[in-house]
Symmetry: C2
Subunit: 503 residues, 2 copies
């Protein structure tokens, strides 16, 4: 086959894989948002069968050969080259291990998740420990298969962000430690904190009905500038973003009557993820590069809308106005300033997913340090609870009262996800660097003041979103900001903001 | 392979086909209820690829051989025997035609549908006529492939209801003509009609907001006794029922502020379809017989809840009560009797899907007669508009002012669906016979009076629903009622009801 024939075959295959992925995504979306309770069994059968078909197609001899042929061609244009590269990574991941080992691992993971649920419920780390140990063993073996010459943890990091290494993260988290630990200590001792806490309690106590919150979230959708004909919102237990392609993206929000901020910022966060997918170059549709560059870059886009933009004093006023329109009674005695402080309440807590903007990175840093010790230093699994608690004491000044609120809190390890956590925080640091660049390139502050995000979204689309996976994170950061990734932007952002509010 | 091995292979294949069907059903459901406008292209690709995979699996040499092997075994138990039989019918339908002809037909159908839309919009039958002619030609050829010895129209009827023939329908529609034509003439001249019309106009003019209607429909869901953990309701342009299996069924309702009855009866109608699927024997799950026996039997179950039960004077009171709870202001001056008459307004109209209970069967009868002429008498396609209009004049006493409201109104023929229409009406006749049987077997009238459908639904489940496709319609009617199908039950039901109201 000549180049054109190979490419045609390749993109036909991608369309087929798209169909399977679309179907599976939708079955899961439906399960999380609409399907009746008893639909679990039927859904499990469908996803397992379609997943099997899709896996067989990806790992077939024919596919492997096709990828090899395409990789031999040295005059592919960039788009094709990257599509082949990105897909080849997938194929390699799926074919590097003997099938029996994969099957065994799948079984282990299913068991581990169930055991983790029980261990967390019963506060019984010992129960989970042997499974955790086996999961780590497998990940080490997997990393060696993928790249025998690399440090295993670097290989795992590379899975969630192409090119990410411990070098980058060590430097990044050193900056976090240096900046956030003292800021957090300052906030904890601040005279302002009791006042902000009282405002938060007063507002949360008012109660915000779900119907009103849904109306507000619809208004935020418009304020954020999301396209109604390509994006929709639903309700699920935990907020998430999903979708088939750049013309069909959805996200969910969860509503709690005693926490209005939760829905507001979940909506803006998921709206940021959605915006990224919606704005990837439409010419890439149905191909491997038609999605965000990495987990990290995705998080940078959700966080920039959630935090940099929507938790700023200038833009927060517009959210306040909309919230007051929907909840006039509740907002009778809430001032613009009250609302801004309410949205920026900060307090160290045990649970990562409930953490505020400031302390969030400390939670992630602890997980990074623990994972690094697991893969680099071969730390004994049984010592993890103690290590975990000591780090919370050291960095956040609080000690988890039990393992349920400590080392057992996150589901990730039971799924075999190691190296995933850092993306949650690193993206936030990207967003500070992007924000600083925008402040020079466009009238960023004016846009927030006006409450019109068009220019900001255009900048993000042209400099980040449109590339999809055509470039890797480092290249996008370099092109968009004219500099290498530099965590000091994030440090400066946090220092300025938290000193202004709590200093 | 021995019997057990063959059966295991067969049911594994069915599970795989279930997965494809589930995914496709869900993609379409999502498209009709939730997906953003621009999602059309991505959905088309997914359904066409999954449809192709599923078709390839159904028609593969391996599958054909498996079915042949299983058909040779003469000691299969009934459940297995019927599953093989039902699936073999599918395989035969898909393999009887050479692939090129199928592809050509698919192309024709896609074009025909578009042309039909334009022809209907422009009131231009001549535009659609050549496509209609080709579609008919193909259907004739297809029928000959399936069964060279049978009359083609009988073969088409058999597609939608196993065992249905023109003999049955000729007798049935003769009864309809004899009964409904004079009843309709009586209603049209009745002194009561202007009063009922005035009530309808008065009620519709009040306006019923969508939120309230949704609440009412939720209450009707409970009144009908549908299970919340296995069934859900959504909104779409046209009401329909869909689902993956007996643990995951959904239906939709459309809301019109100026027509409360529309949502009420759509909900009860689709709720009847849902109830049937929910109550098929759960042991059949993921197999070909795990669904309603036929289109006709399905319609009998939607219509029995919609008409026999919910348009009865006794049960209508309970709907009235719920509607008054939700819309207290609007219902201030609507009496129980007003509401009963409102729900039983009857008036001949041009459009089938807007027809009332009494005239509906006349619309279907006309379509049956026209299709019968097409396939039995070889009538000239260009004569259809004139034939159509004359029949409306003869049976309903009204002449369509144009083809848009006449012969061009239904989408079915543009899809190549011939022989489908009769099921819409025949099922209604089944429901009258089932109702008459229940009146003897259980305290049917007492149940309606109490507003508790438990006993009625139990009877329907045990005598009809549970069988799924294990038995064909004739067998189910015989077992459930102790008699052959007898259209006089329906005639008596209509005579009694419409004489009581309008006589």
């Amino acid at each position: 086959m000549n180049k054109q024939e190979l490419l045609t075959k390749f993109y036909d295959l991608q369309k087929k894989l798209y169909a399977y992925a679309h179907a599976q995504t939708l079955v899961n979306w439906d399960g999380a948002t609409f399907a009746p309770e008893k639909s679990v069994e039927g859904r499990a059968i469908t996803t397992s069968i379609l997943g099997g078909e899709s896996h067989a197609l990806t790992t077939s001899e024919d596919t492997v050969k096709l990828v090899e042929e395409l990789q031999k061609i040295d005059d592919l244009e960039l788009k094709d080259k990257r599509n082949v590269e990105v897909f080849a990574r997938e194929v390699k991941k799926m074919t590097c291990l003997p099938m029996e080992e994969v099957m065994e691992y799948m079984k282990l993971r299913a068991e581990a998740e169930q055991v983790w649920v029980k261990a967390k419920t019963d506060n019984d780390f010992k129960l989970f420990a042997p499974y955790l140990e086996k999961l780590i063993e497998f990940q080490k073996k997997y990393a060696k298969y993928i790249n025998p010459d690399a440090k295993p943890y670097n290989t795992l990091l590379d899975d969630y962000q192409e090119g990410l290494t411990m070098d980058t993260l060590d430097k990044y988290f050193a900056e976090i430690e240096k900046t956030v630990v003292p800021l957090n200590a300052m906030v904890a001792k601040s005279d302002i904190l009791p006042k902000v806490k009282a405002i938060k309690e007063r507002i949360d106590a008012k109660g915000f009905d779900k119907e009103g919150q849904e109306k507000l979230v619809d208004k935020l959708f418009e304020l954020q500038g999301l396209p109604k004909d390509r994006c929709k919102i639903a309700v699920s237990e935990h907020p998430f973003t999903s979708g088939a392609n750049c013309n069909d993206i959805r996200y969910t929000v969860a509503y709690h009557e005693d926490n209005l901020a939760s829905a507001i910022y979940a909506a803006l966060h998921e709206g940021g993820h959605a915006m990224y997918e919606l704005n990837t170059n439409h010419d890439y549709i149905f191909t491997p590069i038609a999605t965000g560059a990495s987990m990290t870059m995705h998080e940078s886009q959700s966080r920039i809308y959630e935090n940099n933009i929507s938790r700023s004093e200038a833009f927060n006023k517009h959210i306040y106005k909309l919230a007051k329109e929907v909840f006039p009674t509740q907002f009778e005695d809430i001032s613009e300033e009250d609302f801004y402080l309410y949205c920026n309440y900060s307090s160290p807590s045990f649970i990562r997913i409930e953490a505020d903007e400031l302390t969030y990175s400390l939670h992630v840093m602890i997980r990074y340090q623990v994972e690094r010790m697991i893969f680099e230093d071969g730390v004994d699994v049984m010592d993890l609870p103690q290590i975990w608690n000591k780090k919370y004491e050291e960095y956040l000044g609080i000690c988890p009262p039990n393992d349920t609120q400590g080392v057992l809190q996150d589901v990730h390890w039971s799924f075999g996800l190691f190296g995933y956590f850092p993306t949650y925080s690193l993206g936030t640091a990207y967003s500070a660097q992007f924000e600083a660049t925008m402040k020079e390139a466009i009238d960023y502050d004016g846009a927030l003041e006006k409450g019109d995000l068009t220019e900001i979204t255009n900048w993000l689309r042209e400099n980040i979103h449109t590339y999809g996976k055509l470039l890797i994170d480092d290249e996008i950061v370099r092109k968009a900001t004219g500099k290498e990734f530099d965590p000091s932007y994030y440090a400066k952002y946090l220092e300025k903001k938290y000193t202004e509010i709590y200093g």
